[in-house]
């Protein structure tokens, strides 16, 4: 069976075509945070930087996003808000979440 379009790690997204093939150290740090906080069955390096976190892809739901937001706020010292930016965009991929954290962090 070769329906690879369903597998997020291989999914290609033209909008993020410039994504490096391997995650940066900061992306790995955030990926590890997500995996630990949600007890996911994947390892941090299995989360592709450009794969969606919400819905299809990693399959996070709103309860998970709330958990991740709590851990992010404690680790990096800022609060996520629904209107602080396009919320869907922030959680659209590991890369965008990491970029947002880098821009907002106070520690």
């Amino acid at each position: 069976m070769t329906q690879i379009n369903l597998i997020p790690a291989i999914a290609s997204n033209p909008a993020t075509a410039v994504t490096p093939a391997t995650a940066t150290a900061m992306q790995l740090e955030v990926a590890l945070l997500i995996v630990e906080c949600l007890n996911l069955e994947v390892t941090a390096d299995q989360i592709a930087p450009d794969a969606p976190l919400y819905g299809e892809g990693l399959g996070l739901d709103s309860i998970d996003i709330l958990e991740v937001a709590l851990v992010v706020s404690k680790r990096y010292g800022f609060q996520l808000k629904t209107d602080s930016a396009d919320n869907k965009h922030i959680f659209s991929s590991l890369q965008s979440l990491t970029d947002f954290i880098v821009a907002q962090r106070t520690r």
Binding site: P8, E36, E56, G59, I63, L66, Q79
Partner: protein
Amino acid sequence: MPPILPLLPLVVHPSPDNIIAWCDDGSVTRQQFLADVNQLAASLLPGGHLLNACGDRYRFSVGLAAAIVAGKVSLLPPAHTTEMVRQLKTFAPDVFCLTDNDDCTLDMPQLRYPIMSANENTTFAVPQIDPNQLIAIVFTSGSTGEPSPHHKTWGALVSSVQAEASRLGLLDNALPCTLIGTVPSQHMYGFESTVLMAWQSGHALSHAQPFYPADICRALTNAQAPRILVSSPVHLRALMDAELAMPEIACVVSATAPLSLTLAQSIEARWQAPLIEIYGSTETGLIATRRATQNLQWELLPGIKLVVDGDNTYACGSHIVTQIVMNDIIEPLTAEFFLLHGRLSDLVNIAGKRHSLASLNYLLNTIPGVVDGVFYMPDENDARVISHASHASHASHTLRTSEVTRLAACVVAPGVTSAQLLAALREHIDVVFLPRPLLFVDVLPRNDTGKLPRAALQALFQPAQISRKSA
């Protein structure tokens, strides 16, 4: 029951200048609210059924009132999945959607929430509604996979929320309060305890639908005191954990699942305010309350009775027209008090969303490539073991799973990937029911009679098994 019941009782909303809601740009008076309702009612699409998808609670309330005035029925499904939208269209082919989201992708005729014109000159009378008018149909996931409709009349809803307001002490407050909800207006609890309760008790509602702790904090700050926070264990736990500076709250209301006593105690200590839990169901509306820090027993609302018949407990009386079976294990203590001992085994409830296990299993086994499969709801203690099994990290003590237990599933599906299976499930069920972990096995541990003993499933999801099988 009186022949008509006002949308907003004059006894609690006596003046056109009474504040009905707090929005970002200030307060909305009764006069402006009725003008908005009037304008929207005139522009509704022809269909008799409305899917009110407005995220903003004030806009939802205007949409609901406009539908009532126009004699249309609001549909409140448990989720907006592709499959649910398809089923809603089968149920009510004339359904249309009211949305305040530019990116709304619901596949049905859409009406964008309009820009309202300011109205200061025309005076609008408070609409008077027939108690027998069908106002809303709330859906639960039925055991066959088809959603089950529950019909709500205006009279029954009013009776229910007035009893709630009375129990919460909201009918004799000298000061007008603001109700701030973290639960969606479309969920039966949010529907009754924010929108309808504000209308019927003379208090204002906050337009906000806050999500993150910082959002809740801002919505509280923007709302005029005294504040009543209408929330759920998931949001309250996140709010407590975030340790933000927060304004005073006069009362905290929680529903969807029982709170742990520890959380209840820390909430009351944090705000020096009572935490009142509400118990009910989509079918019955709310039927009982308790203040866990004082008494773990639930107290029925006036007029509601519990009837035990064999293994089942039924609720009846007051706003419950025909007796309804409760999906929980209930131990009546006296005519007014009872204890709750968890859910009956076929039902799962995750963060206020409910599903039948039989229906989830049925769906799982209809997915192409699935030979055999079963969902499994761990006991709360097992859930902690499962979720802490894969690692020993510093993050694991952040109270994860303390309020939410997740479903797991086990399948025999050679050649199907986890991603394919989850994508197929996502078409049919709300994401909160997606299994984690999802185990792939060669054969399910069925016994001689083909049944799956709970103990065998429990063993399957033991930590050692998980790390081996999902690797």
